[in-house]
C-alpha cells in the first residue's frame, strides 16, 4: 500500500474497573520502590557505602561494586555495560528505563541496586539479539522507531503486557503504555505493532 493512509486507533474511554488489578499492581510496585528509596536515603546517608551485589541480567551473572542506593538503571548501563536501557527522567515518569524484574515491568531508575540484587532481570538485550522476538519483529514490521531512544522501554512494556494479556484491546494497550513517553510521537504505530505482535505470538502458539 504505497500511498494509502496510515491509520491509528480510537482514543480510549476513561479508566474503568477491569483495569483495577493492573492499577493496584502499579501502585504496589511504585510503593515498594518509593519505600526502598526512602529507606536507603534516610538510613544510609550521608556518605556512599560501597557494597558488592550479584545481578542476574538476561540469565547472566554480574558482580558489581556499588552504592546500595545507586539506581538499577546505572548499574545496568555503567557497571554491567548494557546500554540498551535508557535514562529519560530519573523519576519514573517516562518509562525509557523499563526492564523486567521477576517478570514484571519496573522503572530501573527508581529501583535501588540493593533491591534488585539476586532477582531475575531482563533488559532489551535479553529479548533477543537477532530480533526474533515477536515484539521486535512487530516493531520492525510496523516501522515504529524514529529516533528510537524510548523504544527499549516501550518494547519491554509491550512484552510484559502481551505476556499477561495475549490479545489486548485498544484500552488495554493505552492503559499499559500510558506511562511511556515518546517525543517523536510514534504512539499510533506502537498501538498497531502491539496488535501485530499479538498476532505473531498467536500464530506461533497455534503452529506448535
Amino acid at each position: 500500500m504505497l500511498f494509502g493512509p496510515s491509520v491509528g486507533h480510537k482514543k480510549p474511554l476513561i479508566f474503568k474497573i477491569p483495569h483495577l488489578a493492573e492499577f493496584l499492581v502499579f501502585v504496589y510496585a511504585l510503593w515498594i520502590s518509593t519505600y526502598a528509596m526512602f529507606f536507603v536515603t534516610f538510613f544510609l546517608q550521608p556518605n556512599l557505602i560501597m557494597a558488592s551485589y550479584t545481578l542476574k541480567i538476561n540469565s547472566k551473572t554480574y558482580t558489581v561494586e556499588a552504592d546500595p542506593k545507586m539506581p538499577l538503571l546505572w548499574a545496568i548501563r555503567d557497571l554491567a555495560g548494557l546500554t540498551g536501557t535508557k535514562y529519560g527522567c530519573g523519576i519514573a515518569q517516562c518509562g525509557a528505563c523499563t526492564v523486567h524484574m521477576g517478570g514484571q515491568p519496573v522503572r530501573s531508575c527508581s529501583i535501588p541496586v540493593s533491591v534488585a540484587a539476586g532477582k531475575d532481570l531482563t533488559t532489551i538485550e535479553g529479548l533477543s539479539a537477532d530480533n526474533t522476538h515477536p515484539v521486535q519483529q512487530a516493531w520492525i514490521k510496523e516501522q515504529v522507531p524514529q529516533c528510537g531512544y524510548c523504544q527499549s522501554g516501550q518494547i519491554m512494556a509491550a512484552t510484559a503486557l502481551l505476556k499477561k494479556t495475549p490479545n489486548p484491546t485498544d484500552k488495554d494497550i493505552d492503559t499499559a503504555m500510558q506511562g511511556h513517553i515518546c517525543r517523536c510521537g510514534t504512539y499510533p504505530r506502537i498501538r498497531k505493532a502491539i496488535k501485530t505482535a499479538s498476532q505473531i505470538m498467536n500464530q506461533k502458539a497455534s503452529a506448535k
Binding site: T83, K86, G90, I140, P145, Q146, R183
Partner: protein, 719 residues
C-alpha cells in the same frame, strides 16, 4: 552497525587492503558554483581532501556516507535510498556510515530546516549516476562492446545482447582509471525502483534490540562522567562554591568551575567529575554554590507577555513584507476583525537528554555526541579552544531526538572545557531537570492580527508579531533588524490574492536563550495565521475550506484542498461533530490538516481523528513521510494542549515530566496521512506537518462549541 568514520585516507587504506576501490565524491572548487565529481585518486594527486559519498570495493561492497545527523527523521535511510536508485544497488547490500564534521567536504551538515533531502537530492542523484556510468563504461571496455549495449542492475553491469555480466567489484579497478563523465542520464521518476517506495528503515533493527549507539552510550577507556550545576538564571555568574562534602563522595575526582558559550554570553556553573554518573550526581547534590545574580532582570512569564502585549498596542513593528495600503483598504472594508493570539515558551525535551563526550588531547580535540551540526561545532570551538578546525574531530552518534536543540553548540563546548581541565575523556550528562530548565527554548510569541473583508473576500490583512528574535542573540547582531521568518507558515498564494497586507514584528529583548524548535517560527505563526483565517471565514459567512479555496488560486493548492476535503469527509460531517481545517507552508512543503472533535458522555471535548495531506514535491520514502507527519501531529498536540515553560524570578519553572507534561498514547487520536504525488521540487518532511495542527484543532473546537481559543496551551478538559 559500524559507524566508523570514513575519511579519504581510510578509503585509501581500505582500497590497499582489497586491491582497489572506486571512491567518488564531490569537490567544491573555490569560487565555483557547481561541484565537480571527482575520484579519490584524482583528489589525492591534487592534494584535495575529497568528500567520499560512495565507495565500492573489489568485492562489490558499497559504502555510502550519510553526511547528516539521524535524529529520528530518517536521513540514515533517505540519503542511501537516493544513492541506491541511480547507482543500481540493493539497499540491503550497502553499508551506511556517518560522516564526521567537515563542511569543506560535504557542504553544510547542519541537520535543520528540513533540509537533508531537499538540499542535496539533485547532487546525490547526479553523483550516483556518475558512478554507475563509469562502471558501465569499464564493463563495455572489458567486453569491447559499445556502452549503449550495457546496463546496470542490482550491483552488476549486464551486456544486453549476450547476457554476460560483471559485478561491480570486478569493475572498480578499471572504473577507477576512468575520468568521470560530465553529464549523465538521470532516471524518469516513473522508472524508480527504490525511490518513492516505503522501504523499511536500515536503522530500525538496531533500535529494537538496544544496539543503536546514542550519545550517552559512548564509552571510552578511562572516561570520566560529569554533571554540572549551572546558574538557573541565564545571565548569572558564579560567585563561589564549597565542595567539602562533594569531595567526600566516593568516586568524585574533580570539582571545577566551568563556563560554556551561549550565544553572546557564557553560562556559568560548577562541574562535578566522577568515575560514574551516579557518583557525579551524588556529589552535585551536596555541592554548595553561591551565585551572583546582580545586574540583570529577574523576569516572570506575566511580565514578558505584558511587555509583548504592550508593545503590540503602542509600537509599530519592523516591517517585513507589505503590499498596497492596509489602512486605506481596511477603511473601505465591509467587515473588520481584530484578534490577538498567544503561544508559550517550550522546551525541546528530546527523550535523550543533552549530553556530550569530549577528549581534549593538547593538539587535538575529539567529540562524540548527539549532534545536529558537526561542522557548526567545529566552527564555534576552533577559536574558543584555540585549535584549528581540522584538529577538532566531531563524530555524530544516533540522536535520541533533536528538534533543533541539538543544533546548538553549548554542550559540546562545555564537554571540551571540562575534558581539557581534567585532562581525560569526559562524558557530560545533563539530567532531565537540566535539559528542561536550561534552554534554549522555543520563544513565546504574541500575534496581533487584523483584517477587512470586501464582497466576501479578504481586502486587507495585517499581522504583527511580538517575541524574541533568535538572530538577535548572536554577538554583534543588529537588534533593529526585522525577523526574516515573520511570514513563515503563511501560504504563498495569499500574497497574490490579498490586495493589501502588512507583516511586521516587534522583537522582545530579554536574556532567555531561545532556539529553533521543530518547524521554528512556523510552529507558532501557523496557529495565529490559520486561526485568524478561520475567524475571517466565519465573518464572511463562508465554509472555512471554501474560503481558503477562494483565496488560493494555484492548481497545486487547489489539489491539496480537494484531497483534504475528500479524505476527511468534510462535506459529509455529521451533527455533533466539529471539523477544523488549517493549511500551512514551510521549508518548501505544504501541509493541510483537518481535525475532527466531538463531545464525550461527560460533555468534555475529545479529539477523534486527524487527517493530513502532505505535499512535499519530489520525495524519497512515503512511509517515512507518514511517520514524520504522525509524529509532528503528536508533538503539536502536546504544545497545544499539554505543556509550556513558564518563568519566575528569572528561572524556568517546569523541571521534569511531572510538571512539563508530555503528550502520551492516551492523548493521541487516530491519524491518517496522505502524500501528494507530483514532480514539484523536493520540500522538507521532518517539520512541515507540525504548524497546521493547533489551529485545525481550535478551529474544530469552535465549530463544535462556538468557543474560540486564542491562547496556547489550553486544557482540553476545560473547554
Amino acid at each position: 552497525m559500524e559507524t566508523k568514520n570514513l575519511t579519504r585516507r581510510n578509503f585509501i587504506k581500505l582500497s590497499s587492503l582489497t586491491g582497489a576501490a572506486l571512491t567518488i565524491g564531490f569537490y567544491f572548487p573555490t569560487g565555483a558554483k557547481a561541484a565537480e565529481v571527482m575520484k579519490s585518486e584524482t583528489a589525492d594527486n591534487l592534494g584535495i581532501d575529497l568528500n567520499a559519498w560512495i565507495s565500492i570495493d573489489t568485492n562489490g561492497k558499497v559504502t555510502i556516507t550519510n553526511h547528516r545527523a539521524e535524529m529520528g527523521q530518517g536521513s540514515f535511510q533517505s540519503v542511501p535510498q537516493i544513492i541506491a536508485e541511480e547507482l543500481e544497488v540493493d539497499l540491503n547490500d550497502v553499508r551506511i556510515v556517518f560522516a564526521q564534521g567537515n563542511n569543506a567536504k560535504y557542504g553544510s551538515q547542519i541537520t535543520g530546516g528540513s533540509s537533508t533531502v531537499r538540499g542535496t537530492y539533485k547532487k546525490l542523484l547526479h553523483l550516483s549516476a556518475t558512478a554507475r556510468e563509469m562502471l558501465i563504461e569499464a564493463a563495455a571496455k572489458k567486453w569491447n562492446v559499445p556502452a549503449s549495449e550495457c546496463y546496470a542492475e542490482n550491483g552488476h553491469v549486464i551486456h544486453k545482447p549476450s547476457g554476460k555480466k560483471f559485478n561491480y567489484g570486478e569493475l572498480v579497478a578499471d572504473a577507477s582509471k576512468l575520468t568521470p563523465p560530465t553529464s549523465v542520464p538521470l532516471k524518469d521518476p516513473k522508472d524508480y525502483k527504490v525511490l518513492r517506495k516505503p522501504i523499511p528503515r536500515q536503522d530500525t533493527p538496531l533500535k529494537v534490540n538496544g544496539t543503536a549507539t546514542f550519545g550517552m552510550d559512548k564509552k571510552l577507556p578511562g572516561m570520566l562522567y560529569a554533571v554540572v550545576e549551572r546558574n538557573p538564571r541565564f545571565q548569572g555568574k558564579l560567585k563561589g562554591f564549597d565542595d567539602t562534602e562533594t569531595k567526600k563522595v566516593p568516586g568524585v575526582k574533580h570539582v571545577i568551575p566551568v563556563k560554556m558559550s551561549v550565544f553572546n554570553t557564557f553560562r556559568e556553573g560548577v562541574a562535578v567529575v566522577a568515575d560514574s554518573i551516579w557518583s557525579a550526581m551524588q556529589g552535585r547534590k551536596v555541592l554548595k554554590v553561591e551565585w551572583d545574580d546582580s545586574g540583570f532582570e529577574h523576569f516572570s512569564t506575566e511580565q514578558l507577555y505584558a511587555r509583548m502585549n504592550d508593545d503590540l498596542k503602542t509600537k509599530d513593528g519592523l516591517s517585513f513584507r507589505t503590499k498596497g495600503n492596509f489602512a486605506a483598504a481596511l477603511e473601505k472594508a465591509d467587515k473588520k476583525l481584530e484578534a490577538t493570539y498567544e503561544t508559550p515558551y517550550e522546551s525541546h525535551s528530546c527523550m535523550e537528554p543533552v549530553n556530550c563526550t569530549a577528549h581534549y588531547q593538547g593538539d587535538k580535540l575529539e567529540i562524540w555526541g548527539p549532534i545536529q551540526g558537526p561542522d557548526w561545532v567545529q566552527d564555534l570551538l576552533s577559536p574558543l579552544m584555540d585549535l584549528p578546525k581540522e584538529k577538532i574531530i566531531v563524530n555524530m552518534t544516533f540522536l535520541g531526538g533533536g528538534f533543533g536543540r541539538k543544533a546548538f553548540m553549548d554542550y559540546p563546548h562545555e564537554a571540551a572545557v571540562i575534558s581539557k581541565a581534567v585532562n581525560a575523556p569526559v562524558q557530560v550528562v545533563w539530567t532531565r531537570e537540566d535539559d528542561t530548565t536550561q534552554g534554549p527554548f522555543r520563544p513565546g510569541m504574541v500575534y496581533q492580527c487584523s483584517g477587512g473583508l470586501k464582497d466576501g473576500r479578504i481586502s486587507a490583512y495585517k499581522a504583527k508579531l511580538a517575541g524574541q528574535n533568535m538572530d538577535h542573540q548572536w554577538p554583534g547582531a543588529q537588534k533593529d533588524s526585522y525577523n526574516g521568518s515573520t511570514t513563515e507558515g503563511f501560504l504563498e498564494p495569499y500574497f497574490e490574492s490579498i490586495p493589501h497586507y502588512s507583516f511586521s514584528d516587534l522583537p522582545l529583548d530579554v536574556p532567555i536563550p531561545v532556539m529553533w524548535w521543530r518547524s521554528v517560527y512556523a510552529s507558532t505563526n501557523g496557529f495565529a495565521f490559520e486561526s485568524f483565517m478561520d475567524e475571517l471565514a466565519v465573518q464572511a459567512g463562508k465554509d472555512p475550506l471554501d474560503f481558503r479555496r477562494q483565496h488560493l488560486g494555484e492548481e497545486r493548492y487547489q489539489t491539496l484542498i480537494n484531497r483534504l476535503e475528500e479524505v476527511s469527509g468534510w462535506k459529509n460531517r455529521k451533527k455533533n461533530e466539529g471539523y477544523g481545517v488549517s493549511i500551512t507552508e514551510c521549508f518548501s512543503s505544504i501541509v493541510g490538516e483537518v481535525v475532527k472533535v466531538s463531545k464525550k458522555a461527560d460533555g468534555k471535548v475529545k479529539v477523534d481523528k486527524v487527517w493530513a495531506v502532505m505535499d512535499c514535491g519530489w520525495y524519497v520514502n512515503p512511509d517515512i513521510i507518514r511517520a514524520q507527519v504522525e509524529g509532528s501531529i503528536v508533538m503539536a498536540i502536546g504544545a497545544a494542549t499539554v505543556h509550556a515553560t513558564h518563568f519566575n524570578d528569572g528561572k524556568a519553572v517546569e523541571q521534569n515530566f511531572n510538571t512539563y507534561k508530555m503528550p502520551r498514547i492516551t492523548d493521541t487520536p487516530e491519524i491518517e496521512v496522505h502524500v501528494v504525488d507530483n514532480e514539484e521540487k523536493a520540500g522538507g518532511v521532518g517539520e512541515p506537518g507540525l504548524p497546521p495542527l493547533s489551529a485545525a484543532l481550535t478551529n474544530a473546537i469552535f465549530d463544535l462549541t462556538g468557543k474560540r481559543i486564542r491562547k496556547l496551551p489550553f486544557n482540553l478538559e476545560e473547554v
